[in-house]
């Protein structure tokens, strides 16, 4: 297997574990952790693709930095949302807010 394929296998491993966590976790913070794992897999795949193929490497590294900035923004917002959900529903579980009241 080539080096690129090995790196992509690690990235896909992170994707698989993150998806598993996203669907199996009951708490919102646990789901956020899983999303961060998947974003990391994406960054790893992009940087590996840029460094090991003839494409310009600085482009892939800039993309990875964009992904990190978006992850930071996303976790800030999710923190606020989890906080609000906790205040309003009394728990940070993903099940509680889905009970609609007409």
């Amino acid at each position: 297997m080539s080096a690129l394929a090995l790196y992509q296998m690690v990235a896909f491993g992170l994707l698989a574990v993150g998806l598993f966590g996203l669907f199996s976790r009951a708490s919102l913070v646990g789901m956020l952790i899983s999303v961060e794992l998947m974003l990391n897999g994406a960054g790893l795949a992009v940087v590996a693709a840029g460094q090991l193929t003839p494409m310009p490497g600085e482009l892939s590294q800039a993309t990875a930095l964009f992904i990190m900035g978006l992850a930071a923004a996303e976790s800030t917002l999710v923190l606020a949302i989890v906080y609000v959900v906790r205040k309003r529903f009394g728990s940070a579980s993903s099940v509680t807010p889905s009970e609609l009241k007409g």
């Binding site: 394929a5 994707l15 993150g18 998806l19 590996a48 930095l65 728990s91």
Partner: protein, 170 residues
């Protein structure tokens, strides 16, 4: 000899990354899950160093471990009271199986596609200096650079607004 060292360190870092990730999604306590996430992020940073991207590795530690993990820790602390009980309940085996099948299926499909139609690769990874990266950010992609700062600002202002308004009503 050098080849062997590189292969051995790749294997070690891959095991650290994936092991930390598995711990992060299986640990019952959220604080332990966060520790698993940190280990996984460190493993990814080490993989970046191995692929001749030290600047991205530094940023990985600075942004993820320094900012995102601390933020998630704050989220755990602010919602502490019941976050332990939710994960401590009996696990639904069918849900776990479906989750595992979804993750493995999606990743396996992509992995098969990548192995089958992989691009031509150049085995040596050239190192990019931060100066060149800066030229990319301030040259052709300056719009994206500005937009990411606006997105960060909007997210933080929105977060403050969300949390503040709720507190005022009480």
């Amino acid at each position: 000899m050098k080849e062997l060292v590189v292969q051995a360190s790749f294997a070690l870092y891959a095991v650290i990354t994936l092991g930390g990730a598995v711990w992060a999604v299986t640990a019952k306590s959220l604080v332990r899950a966060l520790l698993g996430l940190t280990i996984s992020l460190m493993g990814v940073a080490a993989l970046y160093v191995l692929i001749a991207a030290p600047f991205v590795a530094l940023m990985q530690i600075l942004i993820y471990v320094g900012a995102v993990v601390v933020l998630i820790f704050f989220a755990i602390m602010l919602t502490r009271a019941q976050s332990e009980d939710e994960e401590a309940g009996p696990r639904d085996i069918r849900k776990l199986m479906w989750s595992g099948a979804t993750g493995l299926g999606t990743a396996g499909l992509l992995a098969a596609a990548c192995l089958r139609h992989g691009p031509a690769i150049s085995e040596t990874a050239g190192e990019i200096s931060p100066a060149e990266l800066g030229q990319v950010f301030l040259g052709p992609y300056v719009l994206g650079f500005e937009v990411i700062s606006v997105v960060l600002f909007a997210a933080m202002a929105g977060a403050v607004l969300l949390a503040f308004e709720r507190r005022k009503e009480r």
